[in-house]
């Protein structure tokens, strides 16, 4: 065998090994996620399919027939209050960055919101605790909502900015040419054009917040009762998964699996909805 053909063979073999390694990485990476989905369905599906799961409140260990009504209502309430705080501020700050933010303040805001996005969520829990629990003397849904709002705000802000920057300047200029003041052009022309991207950002932020546990541990705290008063401790699905999984009682552990499955379904649906929406808008704009 000549030297060149030996080199050629080594290169071919090396290439095949590389391709094999890349495919192997995809397969190995998929294994844990396949297993997670498998166990979620196996352990969670029977629990979720029981109608009591949605219509009953929690029961203590050993008392069958309990459900997640209090946690589902609590999750939705905390998420709604968090969105009421984070969405308007996030969108308005995003409008600022896209329309007025080509300066130092805009750059500072961009940097700060990136740092905020990646803060550990438990730190935000401590923040909300110091701000609203230590000062009022009691745990509350609002404290949890504030922690989640801080988590959602930068996501809404950055996606709003990104969506508005994509709106062609010709659209703005057409508005100005008609004599429409700038604020009306922004509100009635630019924001509606960018609405798809903004909605996606809001959905993604809500999906992220819905599954958070750490910032709620010592703010919303959790509660076995159905509660609609935002100033009282409130249960969420994520807190149930955490607390029940760590108990030694099989019936409570089963509830935890059911709640985990419900959370994943909610988060995944929000993610898919956001993507379908974006895909449709992209097709329309073509």
């Amino acid at each position: 065998m000549t030297a060149t053909s030996r080199v050629a063979r080594r290169r071919v073999v090396g290439n095949a090994m590389f391709q094999g390694a890349v495919s192997a990485a995809v397969l190995v990476g998929a294994i844990p996620f396949v297993l997670i989905v498998f166990f979620l369905l196996r352990k969670g599906l029977p629990v979720v399919l029981n109608p009591d799961f949605f219509t009953q409140v929690e029961h203590p260990a050993g008392f069958p027939g309990g459900g997640m009504k209090n946690a589902i209502v609590g999750t939705l309430m905390i998420l709604a209050i968090a969105s009421l705080i984070a969405v308007p501020i996030g969108i308005f700050a995003g409008v600022y960055m896209a329309e007025y933010g080509q300066n130092r303040l805009g750059d500072a805001l961009r940097f700060i919101s990136d740092v905020l996005t990646s803060l550990p969520s438990i730190v935000l829990g401590i923040f909300a605790y110091s701000l609203l629990v230590a000062t009022t003397g009691h745990f509350s849904a609002i404290a949890g909502s504030v922690a989640l709002a801080v988590l959602m705000m930068p996501v809404v802000l950055r996606t709003t900015e990104a969506a508005m920057v994509l709106v062609p300047n010709a659209v703005r200029e057409a508005g100005y040419a008609l004599g429409i003041p700038r604020w009306r052009v922004t509100l009635r022309v630019v924001i509606p054009t960018a609405l798809g991207g903004i909605t996606t950002g809001v959905l993604l932020a809500m999906a992220r917040a819905a599954g958070e546990t750490a910032p709620l541990l010592f703010t919303a705290l959790g509660s076995p009762f159905l509660n609609l008063d935002p100033t009282k401790p409130t249960q969420t699905l994520s807190l149930i998964v955490y607390h029940n999984a760590l108990t030694p009682y099989p019936d409570l552990q089963d509830e935890a699996w059911g709640a985990a499955l419900l959370l994943v379904v909610m988060v995944t649906l929000a993610g898919i909805a956001a993507r379908i929406y974006v895909a449709r808008l992209q097709r329309m704009s073509r």
Binding site: G29, P32, F33, I112, M153, P168, W183
Partner: protein, 324 residues
């Protein structure tokens, strides 16, 4: 968008006429959006204040001793955070070591063009997995991964116990299990950001290399990855930051024992998990202050790591664009 219209950055585009007189509504609107921007900045400042100020009792009592002390005994008010900092670093670095080769492999695979119909769904799946809540990884790790670790993986690796890291009590709840869970959790982030970075490498570089007769492997390893190096480093550090701040899943599997040991199969503790475990029932001014100071240390660590990552990601993308 198929047409190349100039986008964004309205101020320069607004005609001078508009700017001179202005509309009264413009001023009001500007105040409103300015206000929202300031609220975000204020929130950031408030977070810093509310996480540092309540830790004042231990900050003024222990000073730097808080982060260098290795003894943790709340009953006698001795608070050394070093074992927790150690646990945070060991688990996140372990996670990175485990996730990096697989994440890069997935990124390389996803960044290639036209290799089958399932690429798009696979990419979407990876992004959706990045949104799976931490607590879901936690419950799965607790009931599925911990037994496997305890009964199979750790005993098998314990045959290598002459290397000290593969030693410990084989209980399944350990630094090692926490590292594995974190590796799984950061994998989607690592893969999708690295894929985006690799995609910014100019096509001409890749095609030029292939046209010169380099194989796919040589092109990827010697041309594409080096060109994407800065951005990939950014992605890695970003993933490290995420692993350091991860709380719930780690708390459920790490075993909660504050100790510094090279034995990865021993139980440990992290900054985030001691807060999650102890804070809801914490009593005493100094103990609460110590736990809040843990959060302050975690905040500083992750802000630092993330700032570095952002700078690298921005620079990496800019360089790839400049090369185009």
């Amino acid at each position: 968008m198929s047409t190349a219209l100039p986008t964004g950055g309205a101020p320069s585009a607004a005609p001078a006429l508009l700017r001179r007189g202005g509309h009264p509504g413009d001023a009001v609107f500007k105040v409103a959006v300015y206000g929202a921007a300031l609220v975000v900045l204020l929130a950031a400042a408030l977070i810093l204040y509310e996480v540092v100020a309540p830790a004042q009792p231990t900050i003024s009592r222990d000073g730097i001793g808080f982060v260098t002390g290795s003894r943790w005994d709340p009953r006698v008010n001795v608070f050394g955070a070093l074992p927790f900092i150690y646990g945070t670093l060991v688990t996140s670095i372990l996670a990175l070591v485990l996730a990096l080769p697989i994440g890069l492999g997935i990124a390389i695979y996803l960044a290639r063009e036209g290799l089958g119909w399932f690429r798009a769904p696979l990419g979407t799946a990876v992004e959706l997995l990045a949104a799976v809540p931490s607590v879901v990884f936690g419950i799965w790790a607790l009931f599925v991964l911990v037994p496997v670790m305890r009964d199979s993986v750790e005993p098998a690796l314990a045959h290598l116990a002459f290397i000290p890291i593969f030693a410990g009590p084989l209980s399944g709840t350990s630094f090692f299990t926490a590292g594995v869970v974190l590796a799984i959790m950061i994998l989607p982030t690592l893969a999708s950001i690295s894929r985006d970075v690799i995609r910014t490498v100019p096509r001409e570089l890749r095609e030029g290399s292939l046209a010169l007769g380099a194989t796919e492997a040589e092109t990827t390893l010697k041309v594409v990855l080096p060109a994407a190096r800065t951005g990939i480093t950014g992605a890695i550090i970003l993933a490290l930051g995420r692993a350091m701040g991860e709380t719930i899943a780690v708390t459920m599997v790490i075993g909660n024992a504050p100790q510094m040991t090279a034995h990865l199969f021993s139980p440990g503790y992290t900054l985030a998990s001691i807060i999650a475990n102890e804070f809801p029932e914490a009593q005493g001014r100094l103990f609460i202050s110590a736990l809040i100071e843990m959060a302050a240390v975690l905040l500083l660590l992750s802000a630092l790591v993330n700032a570095v990552a952002r700078v690298l990601l921005v620079r990496g993308t800019a360089r790839a664009r400049a090369a185009r």
